[in-house]
Symmetry: C2
Subunit: 270 residues, 2 copies
């Protein structure tokens, strides 16, 4: 891949990258379309990155369907599909840690997760040499950590934010939605409902995080199969938790529906 | 710097980088000459990287002479001198750790040192976008860690090893030699003498690390102002310590002469 990328750069072509773990859905395709508009050569990577799964997580169960992914990429006019079998030497010993934005939210619950994310994204940047890379806003913390890494390590890559895509009923698209039974699929709507609830209260002038969080809990706790992992109100730049909404605030939540952990988020704009 | 580098890449020029902390000596110049032969555009960076100094170390005292450095670079046909005032945002939070080769030798004595080295070198790679970068063999552990980082993170950079340059009497060139008094300058020769001694014994067939190390200590301990920090015999690939010399073995030592810490090394080839 790297030789190919170097060759493209020498001919002055711009490269756009959409890194994915495959099992593509409309959300991924929207990221590809964003990239497609802004580069000469569109590269999509598909790699279920073991380094970002904890031993207890769903690495082996993570859904895969390469044939279908390939077909979707062709339909979207992807120029290069990069799907390495492995990306790590057996004795790999170099890791990238972001140590501020990674502390809370999913970082608190998923030890080592963002180290795995940062490391694999840096590797992809060095292999694909993109001018721009698109990351979805659904993984809000990941997006901000990648932006921070790019700034701190001076990667010559522009990070483009892709808006969350939702099913008609509001559920944020995710490869993990596949795990849900019909009943759980229904239960999963509580994430979106809780964000709608908080948005409404905020619009009415409520600024107390305790009150706003209570509103969200009221949407989720009554749902039989739902268990809140976290609901956080954090400064949109520093990801530091706050008691009172001031400035742009990221509201992020993770909820287990049965054994499937789903995330969603929204920014309350000042 | 990055915009300039991107412009050069677009015109198909190859870039060579020699990263330094300035106060250049003949050793640095030899690295520049190695790079000069192999690239279109030679970039030298001068940056005394705070992240690789521990709070107790000589960051403030580290010798600087930018005017002289600039003149030497001009004489060597350096195309671009990159001397940033600072390379870190106040809230920088992304760091690169190499976690195997960094454990022993200087890594054991200098906490956080190689994290600072890896991070600044990655930043320089991303800012200068070199095709090749030259590092001196005097910093043997650093060189191997950088090579490992390049492999693990897939940087599109060829690492070129520059041989140790020595003063006529054998002392390895180092900016820190400036700290030595005339008497200490004399005492400092014990490092080279100990390596000569071990090389001779090894040539005669000795393979016991205990015996070989004893020989080195015998060269250093009698020197009044010298205090051994470490003398290590490690596998040249993994940097794992060994009792018996097998395969290529890196002999590395750090010795304090007064308050100045000097390092030297040599590879015993199988």
């Amino acid at each position: 891949m790297q030789q190919r990328a170097l060759g493209l750069k020498r001919t002055g072509k711009t490269i756009g990258l959409v890194p994915t773990m495959g099992f593509l859905h409309e959300g991924h395709l929207s990221l590809m379309r964003l990239a497609r508009e802004r580069c000469d050569v569109l590269v999509v990577s598909i790699y279920v990155n073991p380094a970002q799964f904890a031993p207890t997580e769903d690495l082996d169960a993570y859904p895969r369907d390469f044939g279908r992914d390939e077909e979707l990429c062709n339909q979207e006019g992807v120029d290069l599909l990069f799907y390495p079998a492995t990306m790590y030497a057996d004795d790999a010993s170099t890791w990238i840690d972001e140590k501020a934005l990674s502390e809370g939210l999913c970082g608190a619950a998923r030890e080592g997760h963002f180290q795995g994310v940062c490391t694999v994204v840096a590797k992809l940047f060095n292999l694909v040499l993109p001018d721009l890379a698109v990351f979805g806003e659904k993984d809000a913390q990941q997006l901000r950590i990648i932006e921070r890494m790019v700034r701190d390590l001076n990667f010559p890559v522009e990070i483009v934010r892709g808006p969350i895509l939702r099913e008609p009923d509001g559920l944020a698209m995710s490869s993990r939605n596949k795990y849900l039974s019909a009943q759980q699929r229904e239960e999963a709507l509580c994430l979106r409902r809780s964000l709608d609830g908080v948005q409404k209260l905020y619009g009415e002038g409520e600024r107390s995080v305790a009150v706003l969080r209570r509103k969200m809990l009221d949407c989720i706790e009554p749902v039989e199969g739902a268990e809140v992992d976290y609901i956080e109100f954090v400064d949109d730049g520093s990801l530091v938790a706050m008691d009172e909404v001031r400035g742009d605030v990221l509201v992020a939540l993770a909820v287990k529906i049965g054994s499937t952990r789903l995330i969603d988020n929204e920014v309350l704009h000042a």
